[in-house]
């Protein structure tokens, strides 16, 4: 008899301890994230991770969300799409994340977004700009050209920027003979397709279209070919470092045409590779500039970022690029949604659609609704200019 009672008490105590552990384990909000965090493109993942960490630090410092701590589970996919998909599955099915932030890199995002959709977990694209993963013009679960209802984008898109850039080249830079240069990876090829389409939509045609290898030391040959076409504006779709080398080679060849770059040139590598930090070059951005003196809150945030993440190259002059604080904004807006609706993924999905205007740290307002899953699609990219290492509105 005593033995039976003892056994029952033991079972009861063990059960309680399991429940206690489970209870403790569930008292945190798990957010999953995939991205490239090593190798040549690591900055594209690390900037986003830094943005998330900064936001989560602030959220937890203020007591978390309804008293629960937010935990970021980040995975480095090393640009391996199979690995990225497996990691997404691990985060979703094993770690039970309630929201998944996909990689900034298109290939990895394409591999992981379907995993989240299948598991009915909201997936957020905070730096991923390709229309392939989520086209900004519509929301439809059956139409591949539209955003899936489970996918929410907090950044601008390549096509959105391309539409604006051809008009900037023509109207603001007074271009009549516009040349296009782009790199040979997926990103550059998408720029070529979207810029060409945007030009055609505006009854324009590029006088030259030159593709170059991304990891190239010298661009004399490519730029000599472009120069032969006698352009008066050059539009470039590529990452920061190659854009910097193109800038340098243009100087050597005596080419003084305005150079209009895509938003990727806001990464530090452009200003650290280009002579004079790319002084005079133009860049199209959907975000606001961290150098905008009329937004002291944003400036203070950008400086805090640069001090916190100085070991990845930021300084008081070379402030953060858009992708980092878009992740920050996305996490802060998401936190408000979770605060309002709780941790159920379906409710979070609906909550994001009904989020209402969410103001980001840069002053940009993100808006979603049932038919609009690209939070910046209502914004028109603006043209900025590099000046003394800063990025300002041109005169």
């Amino acid at each position: 008899m005593t033995k039976k009672i003892t056994e029952k008490i033991l079972v009861f105590l063990i059960s309680c301890s399991f429940l206690l552990v489970a209870g403790v384990a569930s008292a945190e909000i798990k957010i999953g994230m995939g991205g490239i965090m090593s190798g040549p493109f690591a900055a594209w993942g690390l900037d986003g991770k830094s943005g998330m960490e900064m936001a989560i630090e602030e959220i937890n410092a203020n007591g978390g969300i309804k008293g629960e701590k937010v935990v970021l589970l980040a995975r480095d996919d090393q640009l391996d799409t199979t690995k990225a998909a497996l990691q997404a599955e691990e985060l979703i099915y094993k770690e039970k994340v309630i929201v998944y932030f996909a990689s900034t890199i298109t290939g990895s995002a394409k591999a992981t977004v379907p995993v989240a959709i299948k598991a009915k977990i909201p997936v957020i694209l905070a730096g991923q700009q390709s229309d392939i993963t989520c086209a900004w013009q519509c929301v439809d679960s059956k139409d591949k050209n539209c955003c899936n209802p489970w996918v929410f984008r907090f950044s601008g898109t390549v096509s959105q920027q391309a539409d604006a850039m051809v008009i900037m080249a023509r109207d603001q830079l007074k271009g009549k003979r516009i040349a296009l240069m782009h790199d040979n990876i997926g990103y550059g090829l998408e720029w070529k397709a979207d810029l060409t389409k945007a030009a055609a939509a505006n009854n324009m045609e590029f006088v030259a279209s030159e593709m170059f290898p991304l990891m190239e030391i010298d661009y004399t040959a490519s730029l000599s070919r472009v120069k032969k076409a006698n352009p008066d504006v050059i539009v470039v779709g590529t990452l920061g470092a190659p854009a910097g080398r193109i800038y340098n080679t243009m100087k050597k060849l005596g080419m003084n045409q305005p150079l209009l770059l895509c938003e990727a040139a806001m990464e530090l590598a452009f200003r650290t590779t280009a002579q004079d930090m790319g002084d005079g070059a133009y860049v199209a951005m959907t975000q606001n500039s961290p150098y905008d003196k009329s937004n002291p809150e944003f400036q203070a945030f950008a400086k805090k970022w640069s001090q916190k993440y100085g070991d990845i190259g930021y300084t008081d002059t070379l402030l953060t690029q858009p992708f980092g604080f878009q992740f920050y904004d996305a996490m802060m807006c998401l936190a408000k949604v979770i605060e309002a609706v709780g941790k159920d993924p379906e409710k979070i999905r609906e909550g994001l659609e009904n989020m209402g205007p969410c103001k980001g740290i840069s002053g940009v307002t993100y808006v979603f609704n049932k038919d609009k899953h690209c939070a910046m699609s209502h914004l028109v990219p603006q043209m900025y200019q590099f000046k003394n290492g800063t990025v300002i509105k041109p005169n």
């Binding site: 900055a43 593709m211 990891m215 120069k227 910097g244 990845i312």
Partner: protein
């Protein structure tokens, strides 16, 4: 077109340095050290840190960078390559490839992923034009230094006892031992010389491409291809291979577009190797009939 040819000559000079480094290691040890691209990167990053973080004058920083590159190569030699001479060449090649990846991973942990501004030791003063292309003090320094280095190393290889000892060490290590040559020491000198060449390449390349942990990746493979094109078994051949590779690559880009640059030059390389497997000016092996 003249601008592209000249720009190709400048790039080819960098490839020539790296091709020579591959050749020196190969002719002494019969092993291809695929971590030479990463040696360039380490030299550049250590030089940058020594100058920027530790405040050393640039020349001192370059010496520190060179010392780091030499040390790295000696560690590679001691840890792996001294044993790999007895293994088949494919295994040796794979080991050096793996070491290269390891070096990049460690370097990323130390220096991160950002691109730093590498000081331009020779300035950026415009001297004259070749066509529309401004030739700067940096460009002329590149050509002059590379010419001097290449002539110097070629003379060492062909005219000095050290150079002949390096060739002998690869031909027959036992015979070297019999005549009192210290093969280990000769190999160490070869690796050190290759590291010095990599440091020179780093100082000339990093101001153009920026100092980052992927610097070696940009030129490592092409430097090897250039050495194969010219002939891996002779320093001079590797040098000419580098120059030809750079000019050919740039000219292809000018004539057929940037996207074709690498396709054309590597297809040309395959065709040339099909006709002359030892490269355009490489040695052919002679066998005695009796």
């Amino acid at each position: 077109m003249i601008e592209s040819i000249f720009a190709g000559l400048l790039t080819g000079a960098i490839y020539a340095l790296l091709a020579l480094a591959y050749s020196i290691v190969f002719t002494t040890t019969r092993v291809i050290n695929f971590a030479l691209g990463e040696t360039i990167m380490v030299a550049a990053m250590v030089t940058y840190s020594a100058n920027e973080s530790w405040g050393l004058p640039i020349i001192t920083a370059v010496i520190v960078g060179c010392a780091a590159a030499v040390l790295l190569n000696l560690v590679i030699r001691a840890a792996a390559l001294s044993r790999l001479q007895e293994l088949d060449p494919i295994t040796a090649l794979l080991v050096t490839l793996s070491l290269g990846l390891l070096i990049v991973t460690v370097a990323q942990g130390i220096w991160g992923t950002s691109t730093a501004v590498f000081p331009n030791v020779f300035g950026n003063i415009k001297l004259f034009n070749v066509g529309d292309l401004a030739v700067t003090s940096q460009d002329m320094a590149l050509l002059i230094i590379v010419a001097l280095v290449l002539v110097g190393v070629d003379l060492i290889q062909r005219k000095t006892i050290l150079g002949k000892s390096m060739q002998a060490a690869a031909e027959d290590t036992d015979a070297c031992g019999v005549v009192g040559l210290n093969v280990g020491k000769i190999n160490a000198i070869a690796f050190s010389l290759a590291a010095v060449l990599c440091t020179i390449a780093a100082v000339l390349l990093a101001p153009i491409a920026g100092a980052n942990v992927q610097l070696g990746t940009m030129v490592g493979l092409k430097g090897f291809a250039a050495a194969i094109l010219g002939g891996l078994t002779r320093g001079r051949s590797a040098i000419f291979g580098g120059l030809l590779f750079g000019i050919g690559e740039s000219l292809s880009g000018y004539l057929f577009g940037g996207q074709s640059k690498e396709i054309i030059i590597f297809v040309a390389l395959m065709i040339i190797l099909g006709i002359r497997p030892t490269g355009l000016w490489g040695e052919t092996d002679w066998k005695r009939a009796a």
